[in-house]
């Protein structure tokens, strides 16, 4: 007689069942002799057109990403990019330059369209194009100025965000204190550098919130992955500032406050020019 004693706990059985279900799902062979209807249903289900289409659509973003990743080195692995990245290594405004150039391209396109417009007479076309150009130049200069002027306040906001996320108010207090000291010290260094020789010149102290937070992050987050993720968000703060400022200028201040007065000026100039021409005659 053979007795099988099962001393396995129900918990283990649940785990085992889970495994068996999975195994069945992948290893079970269709038994053609047993129940053909079941097999037919399975085949129909497997060749479901909608299912396949959805799967194909779902895989599109992944395929596009893979294609882009393949193309990236092909386009940028060259000497030009190599030299450019060295040249721009000290630039903190690279993203702003990209925004400004992007806007220049869009403004240029609108200027070109104005100049090509057959419905407008020549004087009006030129004046409108000049108007568009000046609006672009002034608004871009304004955007850079606003971005620079709120920089100190934004650094504090960044520290405030970090302090709130890491739930440590002292982080913000420390930053404000250190920021103030560094600013004062930088004034002295600048004054000293004016008179000092090139070799004696001192480096300015960092007043950036991201560097401050990065130095202290180890105290709060042990895992490197967490630290990297958190620093991504801190870097995101500086992107957010420039994006908000440039969008505010290009998409709000210019259309609401600048375009109308500029158009009125343009009309006045055209009327004045017409009168002058008549007087000349």
């Amino acid at each position: 007689m053979q007795v099988l004693m099962n001393t396995v706990s129900p918990k283990y059985n649940t785990y085992n069942n889970f495994n068996n279900t999975n195994k069945q799902q992948y290893n079970q062979q269709p038994s053609f002799g047993a129940n053909t209807d079941e097999v037919v249903i399975k085949v129909v289900k497997k060749s479901n057109f909608l299912k396949k289409t959805i799967t194909a659509i779902k895989s599109v973003p992944k395929k596009l990403t893979q294609a882009s990743a393949w193309l990236v080195p092909k386009l940028f692995d060259n000497k030009f990019m190599d030299k450019l990245s060295v040249k721009l290594q000290n630039s903190d405004n690279l993203f702003k330059h990209f925004l400004a150039i992007g806007s220049a391209i869009t403004s240029g396109m609108y200027m070109y369209k104005t100049l090509q417009n057959d419905k407008l007479d020549k004087d009006r076309k030129n004046t409108l194009a000049v108007n568009q150009f000046l609006t672009f130049v002034l608004s871009t200069a304004g955007a850079y100025a606003i971005d620079g002027s709120i920089n100190d306040w934004w650094q504090k906001m960044t520290a405030k965000y970090a302090a709130a996320s890491l739930e440590d108010k002292t982080l913000l207090d420390d930053f404000v204190k250190e920021f103030k000291e560094a600013k004062e010290e930088n004034k002295k260094i600048k004054a000293f550098n004016k008179t000092a020789s090139a070799a004696d010149k001192k480096d300015l102290k960092s007043v950036r919130a991201d560097a401050f937070i990065k130095d202290r992050l180890g105290k709060y987050l042990v895992d490197a992955k967490d630290r990297s993720l958190f620093m991504d968000r801190i870097k995101g703060m500086s992107f957010l500032k420039s994006m908000l400022v440039f969008a505010l200028v290009y998409r709000y201040i210019v259309p609401v406050a600048v375009t109308k007065p500029a158009n009125i000026l343009c009309e006045k100039y055209l009327a004045h020019k017409k009168n002058e021409e008549k007087d000349d005659d």
Binding site: S68, A164, S165, G236, A247
Partner: protein, 297 residues
């Protein structure tokens, strides 16, 4: 009698019974700063998290600023779409509110049309930017992260004396590789002020390369996006917002009068006569034409 005993009941020895019901439960979802990444965070059964300060654990669990956290990650990863999102907020929310609130001679329908126009341009700008640039951004990040992960492990092995297998490099990108190779060399050397500065510059170069590769798409899509925006605004306004631009009243007589005036003026220029003499010679005043109003009546 033969007794087969299955005695390997390990569940009794563990305090974490729930995890054995489903192996997927072994991945803790309650820790980590971002929900998406939590799933990759394997927790050891006996100890939970590694030693961290209380503040850190609180921070990890903190979900207070979930929306801001998401936004910051999004704008960092997708610069062009992020800019378009800001534009959507300003052109789609703030500008229409201002237009509607501003007192002016414009009637309400004009204001609604202007607001609709602003919202439509914001929506199209964001939609087009996101669709066109997201796969590219992901592609750039995929390359950059592959290199970063590979060399982070290499540098960690040097610093900690460990022997972890680095993630294999999937892409051939010489100028990026060159910079990381130098970073590895620096990690092997004894740190000096000069090497610290070089390390910082190399990292900045790598960051800038990623930024340039992502943002170059803004230049590439600027023109098609503007064309699409101009083309799509009228149908969106018509079918989504139900507003149409009021057609301005045509003034055929005025147009015709301007044409006549121009012809007369051209003829005068051909004759070379001064304006006063020319028009007084046949008792004609050009302003009469300007006073003409309306249609054919």
């Amino acid at each position: 009698m033969k007794i087969n005993s299955i005695s390997n009941d390990f569940t009794l020895k563990s305090g974490y019974l729930e995890v054995y019901k489903d192996p997927h439960n072994s991945k803790d979802t309650s820790v980590g700063l971002c929900g998406k990444n939590n799933k990759e965070y394997n927790v050891s059964f006996n100890g939970g998290l590694p030693i961290q300060s209380e503040a850190a654990v609180n921070a990890i669990k903190s979900k207070k600023m979930k929306a801001l956290d998401w936004l910051l990650k999004f704008v960092k990863d997708h610069n062009v779409s992020g800019s378009a999102l800001m534009a959507l907020f300003l052109a789609g929310v703030l500008r229409p509110l201002t237009i509607m609130a501003l007192p002016g001679k414009k009637d309400k329908e004009d204001k609604i049309y202007a607001s609709g126009h602003s919202i439509a341009s914001g929506l199209i700008g964001f939609g087009v930017s996101t669709v066109l640039t997201t796969p590219w951004d992901n592609g750039v990040m995929s390359v950059m992260q592959n290199y970063q992960k590979h060399y982070d492990t290499v540098i960690k092995n040097i610093k900690d004396g460990t022997n972890e297998e680095p993630e294999p490099l999937k892409y051939k990108f010489d100028i990026l590789n060159k910079r990381y190779e130098r970073l590895v060399e620096i990690a092997k050397e004894q740190g000096t002020k000069a090497t610290a500065l070089e390390k910082r510059m190399l990292k900045k170069q790598i960051d800038n390369m990623g930024l340039m590769m992502k943002n170059i798409t803004e230049w590439a899509i600027a023109v098609p996006r503007s064309i699409l925006t101009i083309a799509l605004i009228p149908p969106i306004l018509k079918y989504v917002f139900g507003v149409e631009k009021k057609k301005s009243e045509p003034a055929p007589v005025k147009k015709h009068s301007e044409e006549v005036l121009n012809n007369v003026e051209n003829y005068r220029k051909m004759t070379g006569m001064p304006s006063k003499d020319f028009y007084s010679s046949f008792r004609f005043e050009p302003k009469w034409f300007n006073q003409a109003k309306g249609g054919n009546n």
